[in-house]
Symmetry: C3
Subunit: 248 residues, 3 copies
C-alpha cells in the first residue's frame, strides 16, 4: 500500500479534529476511499470520516485493509507537515504505518499499528426530519455564544428559522438564525422540532469548519444530531451526537 497526498491540509485538519474526540481508530482502506468510524469513549458521540481516493495523487492498494492507529501519534506527525509537503502513507514490513513528509528534507515517521478489540462500529440508521444548511461560522458563533451561558444547548427548528438556546440559573442566550441566501431550513412537515445537546461535544465538532465553509445540521425532537462537513470530491467529516434528555 502506498498513498500520496499533494496537499496535507484536509488529512491533517481532519485527524486533529477527530483525535480530540477519540484517541484510537480503525481506518478501512478500500479502492474508493479511506474511512474511519469511531465512537467516543463515553459512547455519546460518533465520528464518520471519509477521504476519497480522488484526493490522492498516488493510490496504490493491493487489497482492502483495516489498520488500527493511535490518533494522537498520527496527529503529532501530521502537525509537523508544512502546507506544501508531500505526504505519503505506507505499510512497512514490520506491520507499521510509515508516514513520510517530503519538503526540503525527507522525514519518515514509523508508527506501530494497534490491535483494536472491538468490531467495526456500525453507523446507526437515523432519519432526520430537519435539515439545516448554514455557513459553518454561523454555527460556530452560536455555540460560542451559548457557551458563555450554559453546558447544554437546545436546537429548535421551525419554518424558515433555526434557533439555538442556552440557559443557566441566571443567564439566557437565544440565537436566531433566519433563512437567507446561505442558510436553508428544510423540515419534513410544518411542526417545530426541539432537542438538547452537550456544548462540550459541540465545541469539538464545530472544528469541522476547517474542512468546509458550510455545515448540514440534521436532527429531530429528543433525537441524535448529525453534523456534516463536506469538501466535495475530497473529504467528508460527520459527527453524530446523542441528545441530552432532562429528567426534570
Amino acid at each position: 500500500m502506498k498513498l500520496t497526498l499533494a496537499e496535507p491540509r484536509f488529512l491533517k485538519e481532519s485527524i486533529i479534529i477527530i483525535s480530540d474526540l477519540v484517541s484510537e481508530g480503525r481506518f478501512r482502506i478500500t479502492k474508493d476511499a479511506i474511512q474511519l468510524i469511531a465512537m467516543d469513549p463515553a459512547n455519546v458521540a460518533m465520528v464518520l470520516f471519509k477521504m476519497l481516493s480522488s484526493s490522492f495523487t498516488e493510490y496504490k492498494l493491493e487489497k482492502e485493509v483495516d489498520i488500527g492507529v493511535n490518533l494522537n501519534s498520527l496527529k503529532q506527525v501530521l502537525r509537523r507537515s508544512g502546507p506544501s509537503d508531500l505526504i505519503s502513507l505506507e505499510f512497512d514490513t514490520q506491520n507499521k504505518l510509515k508516514v513520510q513528509l517530503k519538503g526540503r528534507a525527507t522525514r519518515t515517521f514509523s508508527l506501530p499499528l494497534i490491535e483494536l478489540e472491538e468490531k467495526e462500529q456500525k453507523v446507526p440508521e437515523l432519519k432526520f426530519p430537519v435539515k439545516i444548511m448554514a455557513p459553518s461560522e454561523v454555527l460556530n458563533d452560536a455555540i460560542a455564544d451559548a457557551d458563555i451561558v450554559g453546558e447544554s444547548v437546545s436546537f429548535i427548528a421551525e419554518t424558515g428559522r433555526f434557533t439555538v438556546k442556552a440557559e443557566s440559573e441566571l443567564n439566557q442566550a437565544t440565537i436566531d438564525i433566519s433563512e437567507d441566501e446561505n442558510t436553508k431550513v428544510t423540515l419534513e412537515d410544518g411542526s417545530k422540532f426541539r432537542s438538547k445537546y452537550s456544548i462540550e461535544y459541540l465545541k469539538k465538532m464545530i472544528n469541522g469548519s476547517k474542512i468546509a465553509d458550510s455545515v448540514a445540521i440534521n436532527f429531530s425532537t429528543d433525537y441524535p444530531l448529525r453534523l456534516d462537513y463536506v469538501a466535495i470530491d475530497r473529504v467528508s467529516l460527520s459527527f453524530i451526537l446523542a441528545p441530552r434528555v432532562d429528567n426534570d
Copy 2:
C-alpha cells in the same frame, strides 16, 4: 428603555477594562449618558465611566434608571460581539437586562439585574497641581518598564519633564519623558511633585489606551492619581488611584 450602538468597540473595550478592576457595577442611565462610578473591592481604586447618548444610534429612555449588573457576565456577552454588530440594550419585563447582538444571526442575551446594597459612590473632590498629557503608549511602556523592577512606581513631575521610577533591592529603572509635540507637562507652580502608586493597579488602568491615543495624568505629592482616557463625543474612562505611602 432601548439603547442601540452601531459600533460595539467603545462599550466592549470599556467593560472589559472596568471588569478587571470591579466585578459588579451600578449604571446610571440618564438622557445624556450612561454612567458608572465604582470602587474596587480593596478601596484603592475608583473607576469613572461615561458614555454619551450621542454615541448611540437609538436612545429611547422613559425615565432615568439605575441598574446593577454583574460586569463579568456583561463582559462575556460583549466579547461575543463582532466589530460590525449592532448592539442594543433593553429591559425586559422580568427585570432583566437584554443585550442583543445583530450580525448574520440575532443573538439575545438576558442578564439578571442585581441589587446593589451600597449607595452610589461619590467621586472625591480632588485638586491636581500636576497635569501631564502624553501618548497612551508612552505611559504603557513606562509601566511595563517599571514592572520588571518593582511593585510600585514613583511619578515625578518637574518643569518640562515627567519621570517614572521603580526600584527593588537590587535593580532600578528610571524612565524620563520630556515635553515634545505630543507630551505636555503643566504644573501649578515651579515645584517638584512626587508620589508613589501600585504597579498592579496601573497595569489594569493603562488598558484605557484601547479607548484613546492620549492620556491625561493628574497627581500631586503623596496624593491620589487620576488618569483620563477620552474619546471625544463618545466615551470617557477615568481612574483614581490612592497613593502608596512608605512607612520607612
Copy 3:
C-alpha cells in the same frame, strides 16, 4: 566604559537565548569584542558568545574588564527595547551596569554586578571531522520532528547526507537531509559518523536561528557537538553539547 548599539536585535536575541541555558554570566569586554563563555549548571552544555566592537556605533573602553551579570535580569531589560531603540551599556559609579534604552522616552535600568566565584571557563579543544552547513530552519524542523518521538536524537553523517534519527519504544522518526545548494556535508574521510544528543538542550540551542539563517553543525562519533550561528561582522553564538552515551 560606554558602548552604544543602534540596533538592539542581535544583543537582545542573543541574551534571550543564552539566558535559557545559563542564568549568570561573565562578560569579558576587550577593545575588539564583548565575549561570554559559560557552562550550564548541569555541565552538559557550553555557550560561546562574541559580539564584535564593529557592531557598536560607540565603543569607549578605558581598559579591559570582566563583569558578572544576572542574565535573567539583563534579558528582562533588553526585552523592553523596541526595534529602533538606541541601547547603551555603561558602568556607573556604584559598580552597577547601566543599560539605557532611548526611544520616545529615555529609560535607564541599573543592574548590580555580581561576583562570579569560578574562574573564566576554558573552551575545550575539539577536533571535528564532520562539518555540515545547513539552513537554520532545516535543523529547527528536524529537532521539532524528533521531539514528537523521543528525548534524544542521533546525528549521522555520511558522504553527501546528514540524517537525524529519534526513536522511542514504539515510534521512530528519520529525517534525511541531502546536500543541495544551501546544504553542504564535509567529512574528513569517507567514514560514517554517529552520535547522540539531548533534544531538550538542542531545542534551546536552535533558537540561534534568530541570529543567523544558516548553522554550522560540527560533530564526530560519540563526541561533543558544536553549533555555530554567525552574523558576519557582528555576532557569533556557538553551543557545545556533550554526547549522550548509552550504557545498554
